[in-house]
Amino acid sequence: MGRRVLVTGLSTFWGGRLAQALEKDPDVDVIVGLDTREPRVELERTEYVRADQSYSILNRIVRATQVDTVLHTFLIVDSTRMSGRALHEINVIGTLNLLAAAGAAGSPVRQVVVKSSTLVYGSSYEDPVWFREEMTRRHSAKTRVERSLLEAESYLHDFAEDNPHVVVTLLRFSNVLGTDIITPTSKALQLPAVPSIFGFDPLMQFVEEDDVVRCLEFVMREQVPGIYNVAGDGRLPWSEVAAICNKRLWPLPPVLTRFAAEPLNRLGIELPPEMLDLLRYGRGVDNRRLKRAGFQYGYTSAGAVDSFAQASRLRRTVGDSRPAYQYERDVENFFRRSPAVVKNE
């Protein structure tokens, strides 16, 4: 019997990407995608449910669809995209409700995968060069996104303790770069001059977007429990990242950096506090535990930067080549349900 999978945040980059990947997997029977907004990528057989992450709805969806796997990709790590309150609702309350539904009595769920971020380690001058999964940060989190991720993770720890029969996987992804994804980092690297902080040239680590999707599929397929850092091999200085993208640096003053970044925020060049910390001290995470579990990366950190640089060079010449996708409920329903549609298996 194939797997029945619930993907949260279907309209987000990761939800859409992951659902597309799962559709190609013959071992996956049912894919249910949850979001409040319509999916933004074309999907063949994923069932889209427009629902928010309130407990009662999630509980009914889990029971009704009898999903055995929950892929929780809907954790916001880019704090520039919404207010702190909305972010808290999604990351903390959403995760709380989802896990409560997955852990309810008689729940069919046997695996939960959560896509968190290496933001939980923070970025400070007291950090080791490489964080291992069992290490915790020295200082408590100051930014909202970091706090919310830590809270979401702590709910997952409780869930894992209360539900020993469920395979629980927590993945902490490093900064993602790649051909399509838009993050504060990718936006910064597309500016005419790349913001940096004077006197600092931090060592950065990246993971390529394809590796992110492959990793999520991998832990689902192989059912590997535990906490894993996901990041490409090696670290490279921010100046070199800019050089690979063929950009110059634009140094911000090392003191009162946040004030200096404020006018840029007004101009739409958003540098959230966690990004300013990163531009000062960088961050490195040890990726060897996931490799030992059998995962093979497709890109190193520098490789991910290069992949991004190549894609943006292409975009600069030919523009965004992929046509924009518009979800049409009736059309999707027609294709999925109408007896007139011939399904060639």
Binding site: Y125, E126, F198, G294, Q296, Y299
Partner: protein, 290 residues
């Protein structure tokens, strides 16, 4: 390296259903600079060596004794006394060993360095690493490198000229614990000359507190040379003596090591360094000519 291979082999054996890949080709890694994971750049190191060579050869006229006790391969933790307002012992040891033994030395420094603009970056490019137990372990155990540490921390360079060659407390013996965990020997190095190259005559606690610095010194160099005294060292004669390596016959990678054993070993190393310093001072006829 060897342990890494063993682990992947284990993982392969454990997950039998995984197709056994023909040993994975290394991924393309389009790097443009030579900055390694520690922030060290061999280019910067070369430049630093070229600039430092005259200072090392002609100014400090560094003389080593027992350099053959520093191993030419395998990890080792070098431990030395620390002195001078802006300590010159770290670059002298790093430069000397790199020139003589052709081996890189990673110098551990207070992580406050990383918070300083420009200085922190330059320090990292020149082979400095933040003193975090995790960093030291990785360098020593997994990469079998030479690591230099000053167990006195900032208390060594922050002492007045009147207290010269009086070793401070050796922290909490953390360096012994790391060497035990990493399974490497500790090699003590007694340094004579750094104290006189930039002696502190006065310290201002108020300024230090205000700026969050370990100490704000007034040095004899500043009195004589003004602002130039910040970089102008006195030409004290440097003599370094490498002492016999200390091997701890304890298994590496333990969760914990006996606290009392650690303190005993740390204290023994401190006493030996102190005795050797006194011995070297007894033989020294002149601060400037040795």
């Amino acid at each position: 390296m060897a342990s890494e291979e063993r682990v992947t082999a284990e993982a392969r054996g454990a997950l039998v259903h995984l197709p056994r890949q023909a040993d994975a080709e290394p991924l393309p890694d389009p790097r443009q600079s030579d900055v390694d994971e520690w922030g060290r750049s061999e280019h910067t190191r070369q430049l630093a060596r070229r600039l430092y060579e005259p200072l090392y050869k002609s100014w400090f006229r560094v003389e080593w004794e027992g350099l053959e006790k520093v191993p030419t391969d395998g990890g080792a933790l070098l431990v030395a006394n620390h002195a001078g307002a802006i300590p010159s012992d770290a670059p002298v040891i790093m430069h000397g060993i790199e020139q003589e033994l052709q081996r890189p030395v990673y110098g551990l420094a207070d992580n406050i360095f990383r918070a300083a603009p420009v200085v922190g970056t330059l320090w990292a490019r020149a082979g400095g690493v933040a003193a975090h137990p995790e960093n030291a372990y990785r360098l020593l155990r997994e990469q079998q490198q030479l690591v230099l540490v000053f167990p006195e921390g900032t208390k060594g360079p922050g002492k007045l000229y009147s207290e010269r060659y009086q070793l401070r407390r050796f922290g909490r013996g953390g360096f012994v614990e790391i060497a035990m965990r990493a399974g490497v020997p500790v090699i003590p190095i007694a340094v004579m000359g750094a104290e006189e190259s930039m002696p502190i005559v006065y310290k201002n606690n108020f300024l230090a507190r205000t700026f969050g610095l370990p100490y704000v010194p007034l040095t004899a160099n500043m009195l004589l040379l003004g602002p130039l005294g910040l970089i102008g060292y006195f030409p004290a004669k440097f003599k370094l003596r490498v002492l016999d390596p200390v091997h701890f016959d304890v298994p590496p990678d333990q969760e914990r090591y006996s606290r009392s054993r650690i303190m005993d070993e740390a204290e023994a190393i401190r006493v030996r360094l102190q005795d050797n310093l006194y011995d070297m001072l007894r033989q020294r006829r002149s601060v400037w000519f040795g």
